[in-house]
């Protein structure tokens, strides 16, 4: 541990930071005095928040940022002239342990550039996590990236030590992927995903007979897609996510607004700003899929292939389906109450619990934390609230709910359109 480690850490963090996944959720494992650390499950623990507002839960580094691949969207592509470094296994292990003991982190998120070939790289990753778990008795969270193209044996070994594994799809469309990352194809991404899934399912079956079989990737797997680097529509992205969530071990799909890191590459669009609003809308849609019992075709379909950037996807759905409203708070099913804009999982649970004791009125709703500004057009609760979405017409409700631009644009001022392209 010296000044040189400091430099290496800086370089390898800069290289790893475009991976968005950072959760430490999905597995509960007490320590019971067998080593260092535990995992808490639930939503996990975020130990800090960087200046860009993203959470820091795990020590997110690469083992090395040397890479033989030349993926157009990646900062670490072989044709980029950036500082390169490699951490030794002992350095990385010590960093993880010492950070963990100071309560800086929840565990390790380890990935790597591909050196020599996928199997060679994967083997080195496995060595790090094996060292951590067996020699240093590290019992915290480990998220391990599976290298596309790695063999089944290595993935199976890694799964014994990691809590979560992930393979990034990056581009939701195979043709675009081949264009931007000539060395990759969907096969190379889905293969390790399938290995992980099979491993988990086999392990589950085995544990049914022998309770003490160690768990295999207990927190399941996740993946990531880049948004805005290819002309893919939100429909394509969300359909893929929905198909992935239908698989037994897929826990999270992350969306990463494309950041223009390789400005010289003509295959990529020129973006002044990462598409942050679109990314946010995709996450909202993702939440609708996972917690609000929406089907993907209700959120995006062929008539509405993209999410509305001005209003959230749930409100957009409600405005497209005024015939479903108003919803009677005191009678409707939980599922239907959950679909009202302005009511979330928490307030919907409170509502269905409370109404067994008496009528729930708008006064109660406000106290429970319902966003009445939105919800009032979509509910009835036995009192005169405000005209419903049907009386006002969806387009008028939309006008009322779209956030007003902060600065007033002077309409008398002539603006010249120089064309945005």
């Amino acid at each position: 541990m010296t000044e040189e480690t400091l430099n290496k850490l800086r370089i390898l963090t800069e290289s790893a930071k475009y991976d968005v996944s950072c959760s430490s959720s999905g597995t509960v494992r007490a320590n019971r005095g067998q080593g260092v650390g535990n995992t808490v499950g639930g939503v996990g623990i975020c130990h800090s928040f960087a200046d860009d507002g993203r959470c820091i839960s795990l020590l997110k580094v690469m083992l090395t940022n040397y890479c033989i691949y030349d993926c157009a969207y990646c900062i670490n592509r072989t044709s980029n002239d950036i500082p390169r470094a490699t951490l030794s296994v002992s350095e990385l292990v010590e960093l993880t342990m010492e950070f963990y003991r100071r309560n800086y982190i929840e565990g390790l998120f380890l990935s790597s550039g591909v050196v020599r070939n996928p199997d060679y790289t994967m083997e080195r990753l496995v060595r790090v996590v094996k060292d951590l778990r067996t020699i240093h008795r590290f019992n915290g969270y480990i998220h391990l990236k599976s290298i596309p193209g790695a063999s089944r044996e290595l993935v199976s070994e890694a799964g014994l030590y990691a809590d979560r594994m992930s393979v990034n799809i990056e581009i939701p469309n195979e043709n675009s992927l081949k264009l931007l990352a000539p060395e990759k194809n969907f096969q190379s991404v889905y293969e390790p995903m399938k290995f992980i899934q099979q491993g988990v399912l086999e392990n589950k079956e085995e544990r049914r007979h022998l309770r003490h079989v160690p768990r295999f990737v207990p927190a399941g797997q996740s993946t990531q897609m880049i948004v805005g680097a290819t002309p893919d529509r939100d429909r394509d992205i969300l359909r893929l996510s929905s198909a992935l969530y239908a698989r037994p071990t897929m826990r999270r799909v992350y969306y990463s607004g494309y950041i223009h890191v390789n400005t010289y590459d003509k295959r990529l669009p020129i973006l002044k700003q990462p598409p942050l609003v679109r990314e946010n809308r995709l996450y909202q849609a993702d939440w609708l899929l996972r917690f609000y019992q929406f089907k993907v075709d209700e959120i995006v379909n062929d008539t509405h292939p993209d999410l509305d950037l001005e209003i959230d996807p749930k409100l957009a759905w409600a405005l497209r389906h005024p015939e479903q409203f108003p919803v009677d708070i005191n009678k409707a099913d939980y599922e239907m109450i959950l679909r009202v804009p302005g009511i979330g999982v928490k307030s919907a649970t409170l509502i269905v619990n409370s109404r067994r004791f008496g009528r729930v009125t708008s006064f109660h709703l406000k106290k429970m934390g319902v966003v009445m500004k939105k919800a009032k057009y979509f509910i009835t609760c036995g009192e005169l609230l405000s005209p419903s979405v049907n009386e006002l017409h969806p387009e008028n409700v939309r006008r009322l709910l779209v956030p007003k631009p902060k600065r007033n644009i002077d309409e008398r001022q002539l603006t010249l359109d120089f064309g945005s392209t």
Partner: protein
Amino acid sequence: MTIFVFDRTLDGLLTAVFDAYSRRSFPDILQGEGCPLPLFYDEVHTVITDDSKAGRVWKALQKKLSPEALTSLAVSYLSELPELDIHLFRYVCKAIDSPASIECNFADEDVLFVVNTFRKVRYERLRMMQFIRFQKAADGTYFGIMEPIYNVLPLAIEHFRDRFSDQPFLIYDKRRHYGYYYDGQELTHVTLDESLPHFVTGKLDEALLDKDEKLFQDLWRTYFKAICIRERLNPRKQKKDMPVRYWKYLTEKQG
């Protein structure tokens, strides 16, 4: 208007409930000892905390409420909010009077207030688990200090004891002037002399630090800076998720 004065402990509050039923008069105001009384009132009753009375009320509650609701009741009291007292008092009375459990009636003002307070306390517990930062001292003890807004150290300490079971540590709540010391075996409740410089600044003196401590702090700060994507700067979200009141003791926000 009837006023009950009690010692602001949970047992005291439960004794107040017992007294109210035995006197057949219920308070309009419930306040701690030493608080100034309002200008006009009919009578003041001073509650003398009695474990057996409190125990009887608790037993009655156990018959009416689920174990989860009882936990939320006790945990919400750790918020130490003065406005919680009367809500909690009415909650307990309603629970005793009602034939069925009222714990899910969130339309009731008192139930909702207690549940919301419970949520806030749980959240502060999570914040403690997130934002405690240890500094390693030369003798191998890890030192962490914090000023949580609610009294959550008793709720969080079990998590730290399990997680760091092989390292001695001290976690100190500076706002409430107590902490827990763990020597690798046992937890001890401690109160220390807070005039020492490291209790004032939250930083251990260089002479007291482990030889590698400075390096790891630098490494952590380097990591913290490097992980940020400059194109996405968002200080508003950072402050929302990591309120400024915690920054004083965060390694990455110092130096």
